[in-house]
Symmetry: C2
């Protein structure tokens, strides 16, 4: 089955977590809004599907995945679904719930990262909420980010296999890699000593980047670079010296 991924074409955003999973799974997928404009492709095709009144299960927002007749919204659920069909999740039911739980905690972290530059409203420009962004980011880097990173570092330690969940690399590891890469892009100063504080996360991140399917993908034009329109944005005035 060829999956159809629907996501904004100009940012890695939340769509990237799905792309990484599809790439590692060697799944057949088309990145609909980024494909050349055609009958069922291009941004217009995504907007048409979002506005389709005949959909029984309309997604609230991109990304969403079309898998045959199913239309699945919410990044973590797309990954739950893919994890049941490809070798990118633990095998047991309990293991799959656990990977899903980690993914939702990653999603919570991602939402907090987004709000560092948009603490007042996603509908306003960053420039219209700069003082608030500075205040929120300072707290995020000092309190929230270390809390999340300590948690994930500890999860890898408890698993004792060098990654987050189960016996093999899962979509949660791929997402963690993406979050760490995004944090490095957004906050190079604050992340300068990252590996010293979180050696297991650093090693996991390096390991994911070297997986053959992922390494190939990262070199390909399918991989979108970070930019200041997405979740992870680099505003030097928000970055700070390392908290630890």
């Amino acid at each position: 089955m060829r999956y159809e991924l629907y996501y904004w074409p100009s940012i890695p955003g939340r769509g990237e977590f799905v792309r990484l999973a599809c790439e590692q799974a060697s799944a057949d997928y088309v990145d609909v809004a980024r494909a050349p404009r055609g009958a069922g492709t291009g941004l217009a095709a995504m907007m048409r599907l979002l506005a389709d009144r005949r959909l029984d299960c309309p997604p609230f927002a991109p990304p969403f995945l079309k898998a045959g007749k199913l239309v699945i919204g919410q990044t973590a659920i797309i990954l739950l679904y893919l994890g049941e069909r490809h070798r990118i999740a633990p095998k047991s039911a309990a293991g799959r719930l656990w990977a899903h739980q980690l993914q939702l905690t990653i999603a919570d972290l991602v939402a907090e990262i987004h709000d560092t530059h948009h603490p007042i409203a996603s509908g306003l420009y960053y420039e219209d909420q700069k003082p608030e962004a500075r205040r929120r980011t300072a707290h995020f880097l000092a309190q929230r980010l270390p809390k999340y990173l300590r948690y994930f570092e500890d999860v890898i330690k408890r698993n004792a296999r060098g990654h987050l969940a189960g016996a093999r690399v899962s979509y949660a590891d791929l997402s963690m890699f993406q979050v760490i890469a995004g944090l490095r892009y957004a906050f190079p100063r604050a992340m300068a000593r990252f590996g010293r504080g979180y050696p297991r996360l650093e090693a996991l991140s390096a390991r994911v980047a070297e997986l053959p399917a992922i390494a190939g993908y990262l070199r390909s034009p399918r991989r979108l670079p970070f930019n200041n329109q997405g979740i992870f944005r680099h505003y030097p005035e928000l970055d700070s010296s390392p908290a630890r």
Copy 2:
């Protein structure tokens, strides 16, 4: 099996979504941190479990549910799990994914509601972020809340059975009821004409309140009232006249 629900004892918070599901399912559950202090009960028991180094799958934060040997964190996943075991979710696999997707969108809304009074940092007092809270709440009530409510109203309309997903009341409906009750507590002025704008959500909410198991629960001491320590807080200075 007797489920053990772990959540902060003094607020409805995210624990309430799990309580409503357990009550509607007539599940046997103990609200651990609210039970009289004992061998495995009371707040101390929750803190002990959170700090337990032997847990393979440590939750990031309450609520979490102990079901036999499983420890499940993340509200939406607890509900996904309960929905597979009790008659509070659609029967088909696709229907269950859909209810779960709606629950995650409700969770996104709940996080945005929380941030109306804590736009800078959850670790700061409301009093330390009042101007920012006023700005964020104004945008939330004018833009974000209507976007979410229009979406859920439309979902009920498409289902044509008076509730969100599938052929019977699901945990997503119970959660929607709780969100509407919380919004009414927090923003009585902004919610004054709610039923006029969102008649299906209003009807769903009334219907849930009259379900025999839920009606009994709401009258019981097990139901915690809203208060200004939780997600839904009433600060008159944040409330505004109705946007529609």
